[in-house]
Amino acid sequence: MTDVTHLLGLLTILVLAIFVGFEVISKVPTTLHTPLMSATNAIHGIVVAGAIVATVSLFNTGANSLGVTILAIAAVTLGAINVFGGFAVTERMLQMFRRREGGK
């Protein structure tokens, strides 16, 4: 399913994304490094999309024995923990960061 042009396309995207990541994230101040980390936890939760795709191809090939289905469900579960937990805990932390006027 992958020819060389397509592979090169993905590699190009990978390298450019790494540069964008370095550029954007190096501007995040140390104060926000913990929320940054939990936010990136949530973003790598996109792995849940990969888990869904893998689960679907498992069922489409009819290879869905009980054991492997449990592995697939576990993959979706772990990804979903990242997505929901990551964004929620980042939100919770960021709402604590207040200016002087805002504090009581």
């Binding site: 992958t2 990978l14 980390m37 936010a39 973003i43 996109i46 579960t77 923990i81 805990v89 002087r100």
Partner: protein, 466 residues
């Protein structure tokens, strides 16, 4: 849907990058997080619509269980426990990437294809190895941070040798898997998985609790890498880009943390720094009892109350004593009297990057008062009193001027440049690095012994009574 799906994915990607961009300042950070969450919502709706119907119940079970656990944990977790929480999230991402590889491997086996496309086999095996190392390593990091196992480095003779053998075995099995076009016997694949998990456990075991900021950042970048490679495996630009963003973030933080400790990454990973009965570091600090000056809370209260600028220097000891709210109460009393209060935050003051800032933000300290290393050091020469609370090595002037010191060259908070230094300390026990701190013997330094929280509360009461 053929054109709409990639376009919507592109929108999601743009929202992720914009979201990370808005994390560059506290006032816009919440907006950034919500943008990224909205991007994730779009991306997930797209993938769910595309796969609608097939195995819907399995996907629903996973999302419901995972979502419930994630949100429940996010609401319940204490801010002091944030490092172990993030360790678990890193592990979850790595574990998911590894499991995707396992599922795709089974799909290939049952699919009846002759040999695996080399791009797929390479990415499958790499994302499984890196994901498993990240998963198992994160679990150990979690156990250490949660104090379910010792935070001290766990070492045994020949440890590096054993790790090297396991790493070589993984490399050999991985190459074999790719060379065989994915037709390696099932036991070989399982052995590869077990070896990768074992390596994850063994590489975190010898790393001490205080080095966790580096380890968590590194595992974060591993997980990003595993997700990016999983993107090659299932041919998804979305996973490649998100993985790359996270990998870049984890790498930046790893480098920042290593720099803050003035140690190379290799040194953090392989030296078991601060081990029990430690060799060199302990030997360096054998000067016997130091000559220090002890003061009472009342004396310190007078000094603080009549100062014009006070700098708090919190360390992990403050967090352990749960003293952050007491510190804020003391700051409020001082500000009421017109004293300018600032906080100097060393990059490795907590157990993960930026941890101390979150702990103080939780105690309602406005973020404008939280100074990073450079900003704090610029303020210290004009500071009247520096109050060191549960921090030790990050204030040790030996890092600046004693070339033989194990921490020589580490960037420190120059509290010795302040007019007066008050060190809140339980006892004269040496810090994590096991070395004496000459700061305590300086003429402008005085020690206030006792539990950090009790001492700060005593100071608050004394300032109030003035």
């Amino acid at each position: 849907m053929t054109v709409a799906a990639p376009l919507l994915d592109l929108v999601a990607i743009a929202l992720f990058i914009l979201g990370l961009h808005f994390l560059n300042a506290p006032p816009t950070a919440r907006f950034g997080n919500r943008l990224a969450a909205f991007g994730m919502f779009i991306a997930l709706v797209v993938v769910l619509i595309q796969t609608l119907g097939v195995a819907w119940w399995a996907i629903a079970i996973g999302i419901i269980i995972g979502g419930t656990i994630g949100i429940f944990a996010a609401i319940r977790v204490k801010m002091t426990a944030m490092p172990q929480m993030v360790a678990l999230y890193n592990g979850a991402g790595g574990g998911a990437a590894a499991l995707i590889s396992c599922v795709e491997y089974v799909v290939f086996l049952r699919g009846g294809g002759a040999t695996m496309d080399p791009v797929v086999s390479v990415s499958l095996v790499l994302s499984m190895i890196i994901g498993s190392v990240s998963f198992a390593g994160s679990i150990i990091a979690f156990l250490k941070l949660q104090e379910l196992m010792t935070g001290r480095p766990v070492t045994y003779p020949g440890q590096q040798f054993v790790n090297a053998i396991v790493a070589l075995a993984i490399a050999a099995l991985g190459i074999w898997f790719v060379a065989s076009g994915g037709t390696l016997a099932v036991w070989g694949f399982v052995l590869l998985l077990v070896a990768a998990l074992a390596l994850g456990v063994m590489f975190v075991l010898p790393i001490g609790g205080a080095d966790m900021p580096v380890v968590i950042s590194l595992l974060n970048s591993f997980t990003g890498l595993a997700v990016a490679i999983a993107g090659f495996e299932i041919n998804s630009e979305l996973l490649v880009i998100c993985g790359a963003l996270v990998g870049a973030s984890g790498t930046i933080l790893t480098v920042a943390m290593s720099k803050a400790m003035n140690r190379s990454l290799a040194n953090v990973l392989f030296s078991a720094f601060g081990s029990a009965g430690g060799g060199e570091p302990a030997a360096a600090g054998s000067g016997g009892p130091q000559n220090v000056r002890s003061v009472s809370a009342d004396d310190v209260a007078v000094m603080l109350a009549y100062a014009s600028k006070v700098m708090f220097v919190p360390g992990y000891g403050m967090a352990v004593a749960q003293a952050q709210h007491s510190v804020k109460a003391l700051a409020d009393q001082l500000e009421k009297r017109g004293v300018k209060v600032l906080y100097a935050i060393h990059p490795v003051a907590g157990r993960m990057p930026g941890h101390m800032n979150v702990l103080l933000a939780e105690a309602n300290v406005p973020y404008e008062q939280l100074l990073d290393l450079d900003a704090a050091n610029a303020e210290l020469p004009t500071t009247d009193v520096a109050l060191v609370i549960g921090a030790n090595d990050v204030t040790n002037p030996a890092a600046r001027n004693v070339a033989s010191s194990p921490i020589y060259g580490m960037p420190i908070i120059d509290v010795d440049k302040a007019g007066n230094v008050i060190v809140l300390k339980r006892s004269m026990r040496s810090g994590f690095a096991g070395i004496d701190n000459p700061l305590y013997e300086l003429p402008n330094t005085a020690m206030l012994f006792g539990d950090a929280k009790a001492s700060v509360d005593a100071l608050t009461a004394a300032v109030k009574a003035l």
